[in-house]
């Protein structure tokens, strides 16, 4: 009897501790104060999507509910964590109804803001953090894979726009590892092809040949990927460009027909496997059949 009572007590205490150290994130920018209520000394501001731990709740009827939280005010620079009080209202925890979708929805809103001309400053980073929090707070959510992919994609696009090549692919690899065989893993693998692409082909066939092979391999390995037709089209375009390059070359002119045939075969494959791409495939087939050059228009084009 005594041992049973101890066991119950242990279980109850563990439950209380868990409740008091709940993982959370904020779907609005928040301010951290020394004590509950907005009149005390301000400690820090935090942007949306910070990784937070709720240590205590204060349900004083005089004010809005306040929560004692810990988190880093500048998550990107791994600044030291701050512990203080903030309004509980914008905090989402695993016990919030539809927590995963609420966080995901706010991330989509932030992403939309980032795309607008006069959008909120830092909105892309907000979206990135919020998407990352979905899997942290609701690990078994059916949208956890998509959220992790979107976070990795935003990170990738930000690095790409900053010309940081090779782009750090650890987040993409994490998507592939945690959600293998999914659409998100397929998309991550496609994004990683960016690191294979040349910055400038200098009009030589080596680069488009290498890129064409990479795209073709992707299409073969990920036939169900939403990016498989893009990959096939990019592979065909690069082969067509190579055919044009060989045609004007003094020493490699005889290799042009083979590249031309390869481009045509890839485009036919695109047409038969992905009928929704028929217009672009038919357009390329026509150009190839009529020997209309594609190089100088497309070969420098980065993947879409």
């Amino acid at each position: 009897m005594k041992s049973f009572t101890i066991l119950v007590l242990v279980v109850l205490l563990a439950g209380v501790a868990a409740a008091q150290n709940e993982r959370a994130t904020n779907v609005r920018d928040i301010t951290i104060y020394v004590s509950p209520g907005g009149n005390s000394q301000k400690m820090a501001d935090m942007p949306r999507g910070v990784e937070l731990t709720i240590a205590e709740r204060n349900n004083n009827s005089q004010t809005d509910p306040y929560c004692k939280v810990s988190g880093s005010p500048n998550p990107e620079s791994s600044a030291p964590a701050v512990t203080g009080w903030t309004s509980c209202k914008p905090l989402v925890t695993a016990s919030t109804p539809n927590a995963d979708e609420v966080i995901f929805g706010e991330a989509v809103n932030s992403e939309q803001q980032a795309q607008q001309r006069r959008g909120r400053k830092g909105a892309a980073q907000d979206a990135l953090r919020l998407y990352s929090r979905v899997a942290d707070i609701v690990p078994n959510s059916p949208i956890a894979g998509e959220a992790l992919w979107r976070a990795a994609d935003i990170r990738w696009q930000l690095a790409k726009s900053g010309n940081h090549k090779p782009i750090d692919d650890s987040y993409m690899k994490d998507v592939i590892k945690r959600f293998p065989g999914t659409k998100w893993a397929d998309l991550a693998a496609y994004e990683m092809l960016d690191n294979v692409l040349c910055d400038d082909s200098n009009g030589l066939p080596d680069c488009p040949l290498k890129e064409s092979a990479a795209y073709e391999k992707y299409a073969q390995e990920h036939p169900k990927s939403p990016k498989a037709p893009d990959a096939l089209y990019n592979a065909a375009m690069r082969q067509a460009a190579v055919a044009d390059m060989y045609r004007v070359s003094r020493t490699q002119r005889d290799q042009s027909p083979a590249a031309h045939s390869k481009a045509l075969a890839l485009t036919q494959q695109l047409l038969s496997q992905y009928p929704e791409w028929a217009p672009r495939a038919q357009n390329l087939i026509y150009r190839l059949q009529q020997n209309i050059p594609v190089y100088a228009v497309h070969v420098e084009q980065k993947p879409e």
Binding site: V27, E106, P279, R280, N283, I292, Q301, K302
Partner: protein, 331 residues
């Protein structure tokens, strides 16, 4: 002003000043899928008479094969004087590379033109070719003009009309009158092409998409933080969603309606109209719940649930100065 005049001229002149109406009975009509230099005679050494760019309206008079190279004698509508600000359309005849002309007799002509238009649209997105968006617009327009029975005709016409709409819209937004409260106080986006598309393809998803674009002309330039604009706009979007429940834009319309109710919560609160604020809050939640239930796919359900959470928690979803044409979440 001059830019606006030129844009309007180019858009209307090149889309509608077509040879199609003039020579509807002639045998080979079509368009061009790459920049085609035109010469006085079928010889690249002869005098150049003009450049036919993608999507131009073409009447192909004859074909000829000279020294193994295919030539076409064509009549093309080209615009001149854009640089000097006195644009005019004129017909130019000459000889050009025949391979670049797609006519009604080209096998899969509709798909080839559509593919070229898609390619141009993507190049415009990537910024890799100047005037690629205008090229795409003209190519889509030609497709529906010369291949009206094509299964791609409706989508092509919608895309042409939408591209034109977006180009005109960006022009309207650049003008000082764009921030006027009343939509009547600013120049309206020309809806002639859109209406023509909707008339030709009634009851289709393309017509529904066209109807959604038309809402732009009814939105306030700036809300000036007054309630009447979001009230009216919320109704407009809700009505659209209920009139076109199958439209690809129905979910977005419901979100816009709900989001405006969320904005009204703050506007009424600031005006100390607590009852109206509470009513708007409840209405916003209702519309967002309808959105989450009816359109559970894609991003709309999470966005609806996020809005519901904010409204239930009393978190502001609108900040002063945020409302108006071109400022709201989706448009």
């Amino acid at each position: 002003m001059m830019l606006r005049l030129i844009t309007t001229f180019v858009l209307t002149g090149l889309l509608f000043g077509s040879l199609g109406t003039m020579r509807a009975q002639e045998k080979e009509h079509g368009t061009v899928i790459g920049d085609a230099m035109m010469y006085v005679s079928p010889d690249v050494q002869s005098q150049r008479v003009g450049l036919a760019s993608r999507g131009r309206d073409v009447f192909l008079m004859c074909r000829s094969n000279i020294d193994g190279k295919p030539w076409a004698h064509v009549l093309v509508v080209v615009e001149t004087g854009l640089e000097t600000g006195t644009p005019s359309n004129r017909e130019v005849s000459g000889w050009a590379d025949a391979r670049l002309f797609i006519t009604t007799s080209t096998p899969n002509g509709d798909q080839i033109i559509f593919g070229e238009a898609e390619d141009s649209e993507r190049q415009a997105d990537l910024g890799t070719r100047r005037h690629a968006l205008e090229d795409a617009m003209r190519l889509y327009y030609r497709l529906q003009e010369y291949f009206p029975k094509s299964p791609l005709a409706g989508e092509a016409y919608w895309r042409a009309a939408d591209l034109r709409w977006q180009l005109e819209k960006s022009g309207v937004l650049m003008r000082p009158s764009a921030t006027e409260m009343s939509p009547d106080a600013r120049e309206q986006i020309d809806d002639e092409t859109m209406h023509d598309m909707m008339k030709k393809f009634p009851g289709t998803r393309w017509a529904q998409l066209g109807d959604y674009d038309l809402i732009d002309n009814k939105l306030c330039g700036s809300w000036k933080d007054e309630a009447k604009c979001p009230e009216k706009e919320s109704q407009l979007y809700e009505r659209y969603a209920h009139d076109h429940p199958q439209s690809p834009k129905a979910a977005e319309a419901l979100y816009n309606a709900a989001w405006r109710q969320g904005a009204l919560v703050e506007i009424y609160k600031r005006d100390n109209e607590r009852d109206k604020s509470e009513k708007a809050r409840r209405r916003g939640i209702e519309i967002a719940q309808e959105l989450a239930t009816r359109y559970p796919e894609g991003d709309w359900k999470p966005r609806a649930l996020s809005l519901i959470f904010s409204l239930q928690q009393g978190l502001p979803t609108y900040t002063a100065g945020q409302g108006g044409f071109g400022k709201n979440p989706e448009r």
